[in-house]
């Protein structure tokens, strides 16, 4: 009887497409909003994730997220290095000097100062130039989006100079750094250069980047550093989740996205549910005839579920395709770079749509179950 169920579903083209579109639209909205939300949240920790040379970030005990830093004492670096299990520990500076081009265009920046000797923490994904050239005097690496912000409409070019808080700097590389939460240019320089760009303050050390010795779990080492130094030590993964958690707790972003996602779910459920219910109602006489002929309730339930599942699956596939196309196009844009549709969200939305399909079919199943087969004689 499966082919009977499918023929019933697809015979009324307008209703069938309406039903599939309802599922597809709902899927698209859910995937779109959830992926953008996940992408924005991931951006809060993108500069942490970009550092692949270290396992652990050591910071002031009251630091809650990447942008919020309180300078450590220079002696803290030595204290961290003294903890058993540390392979190496290096300094990281983070400041926000203003970059100004010769043409007068300016912007606040995220300037990261990496260890002078090892260059631990520089971006590994370079689009132009080389991070090794940071060893040159007054050199910087800037990310592509930052470059385009400071030099709009101009081709990427090395050797250009700009001012960082009135200190001249030369661009020796253009990186593909992950997009930050706010659209500041990401600038990398050596620690000694970066602190000069920022201007002298009593303490400049924002983070200590630590690599655990082979065989030692970063989580264990982080706890040991905290115990030994009284500082806060987080693994890369822990720190990223700290950043995400901070923004979830302290901004309206999750509420706004949550509302949109809930509305998408409700609209999808309501529109798909109503369309499928109407479809069932209009086919009630046919179901009644089948019941009178001797088709069991179990078989009829199977037919209704198959109809809902088929429409739901096709709608989900179409919606996923639409969302994938959307993100493929958006990922080419500078402002929305790095926002992708993760497979986990595809799976979550798939599960949500399965629930929607099940709920939608339940209402119709109930109507078919209570249908009196004798009604076909009336």
């Amino acid at each position: 009887m499966n082919f009977v169920a499918l023929r019933m579903l697809m015979s009324d083209k307008a209703k069938y497409f309406g039903l599939v579109f309802a599922f597809a639209f709902s899927t698209f909205l859910l995937l779109n909003q959830m992926s953008i939300f996940a992408g924005i949240m991931k951006r809060t920790g993108s500069q942490v994730l970009d550092v692949t040379d270290a396992d652990i970030w050591v910071m002031d005990p009251y630091t809650e997220y990447f942008e919020q830093t309180k300078a450590l004492k220079d002696t803290d670096l030595a204290r961290v290095r003294g903890v058993e299990g540390v392979d190496f520990a290096v300094r990281l500076f983070k400041g926000n000097p203003t970059a100004k081009t010769l043409e007068g265009k300016f912007a606040s920046t995220f300037t990261l100062g990496v260890d002078d000797s090892t260059l631990t923490g520089v971006p590994r994904k370079m689009l132009m130039g080389s991070w090794e050239r940071l060893r040159e005097a007054k050199s910087i690496v800037i990310d592509k989006a930052g470059y385009m912000l400071l030099y709009p409409g101009e081709p990427l070019e090395l050797g250009r100079t700009l001012e960082l808080n009135d200190h001249k700097a030369t661009i020796v590389g253009i990186s593909d750094a992950s997009a930050p939460f706010v659209s500041f240019p990401i600038i990398h320089a050596r620690y000694s250069e970066a602190v000069n760009f920022q201007g002298r303050e009593r303490n400049q050390l924002a983070y200590v980047l630590v690599r655990a010795r082979e065989g030692i779990k970063p989580e264990d080492l982080a706890r040991r550093i905290e115990h030994s130094t009284g500082l806060k030590a987080r693994t890369t993964n822990e720190f990223v989740w700290d950043c995400i958690g901070y923004y979830l707790r302290n901004t309206g972003i999750p509420v706004n996205f949550g509302i949109t996602i809930t509305i998408a779910l409700i609209v999808g459920l309501a529109v798909a549910g109503q369309t499928f219910y109407m479809f069932t109602i209009e086919n009630l006489r046919q179901f009644g005839a089948l019941k009178a002929i001797g088709v069991t309730n179990g078989r009829l339930i199977g037919m209704v579920l198959l109809q809902a599942l088929t429409a739901g699956a096709i709608g989900y596939a179409l919606g996923s395709g639409m969302a994938a196309t959307f993100f493929a196009v958006m990922s080419q844009q500078t402002a929305t770079r790095g926002i992708i549709m993760p497979w986990q969200i595809l799976a979550i939305v798939g599960a949500l749509m399965a629930v929607v399909t099940f709920v939608v079919s339940l209402i119709s199943v109930r109507r078919v179950l209570v249908l009196e087969p004798a009604s076909v004689f009336r």
Partner: protein, 231 residues
């Protein structure tokens, strides 16, 4: 072709709907018989209880009183699941409004009782096409219901009622939606294809133009059979 065996025997069947002041007694102790090898007509004015009676005979409604045997079984005593299987295998239906599935071809519509009984699609459609052939509609086996005339649709419904070789055919106003010529053709086919020594046909109808096909005519009025004529 006539035998004395009873396909249906109703004794004092009662059926009411609603309770209290809203209670309506539709069947008030019906005595009715349909014999194997015969075509039994059930006639009477609208609202007299004809449709309720065939619904009870078909096991689609439970009677509130009386006893009934259908093909030697008592549907009222059967479990619900057994009654469905009994109905699927032993009863064929022809409805006033045909009740064909608009998305299925004539052959697929006629094959539905076999499909419902778990017969494979290929075998079921092949058997249904053969039945349509027998009813003179083989050349339209692949047509959709909307491409068929009313008479042709009712022939498809007849093929659906016969394809699984049931022993009792129940027809509800089979000619009501047809013109005289088509109605005659359908009744002629019903008489020739459906009536057999081991099979009975019960027809509910208003259409006195086709009364001559009946072996017996039970006249029903106000929930009771008040006269039986034999042709």
């Amino acid at each position: 072709m006539k035998t004395n065996d009873h396909a249906v025997r109703c004794d004092g069947i009662m059926k009411h709907f609603g309770d209290g002041e809203a209670r309506v007694d539709v069947l008030r102790g019906v005595q009715f018989e349909a014999r194997l090898g015969e075509m039994s007509f059930l006639v009477g004015p609208s609202g007299c209880g004809k449709t309720t009676l065939i619904s009870v005979i078909a096991g689609l409604l439970d009677p509130n009183g009386g006893t009934m045997q259908v093909l030697g079984h008592e549907p009222a005593q059967m479990k619900s699941a057994d009654r469905i299987v009994f109905r699927r295998r032993n009863l064929g239906f022809v409805f006033q409004q045909y009740n064909l599935l608009p998305s299925l071809t004539a052959a697929e519509n006629a094959a539905v009782p076999l499909l419902a009984d778990g017969v494979s699609r290929d075998v079921a459609v092949k058997k249904a096409t053969a039945m349509l052939d027998r009813l003179g509609l083989g050349h339209r086996a692949k047509a959709l219901p909307r491409q068929l005339s009313g008479g042709q649709q009712q022939r498809v419904a007849l093929a659906r009622a016969l394809v699984h070789e049931p022993r009792l055919i129940i027809c509800d106003e089979p000619t009501a939606a047809l013109d005289q010529q088509s109605g005659e053709a359908v009744m002629g086919l019903l008489a020739s294809a459906a009536v057999a020594p081991d099979r009975a046909v019960v027809v509910v109808t208003h259409d006195n133009r086709v009364f001559h096909y009946a072996d017996t005519i039970a006249h029903m009025n106000d929930g009771l059979i008040d006269r039986i004529d034999r042709n």
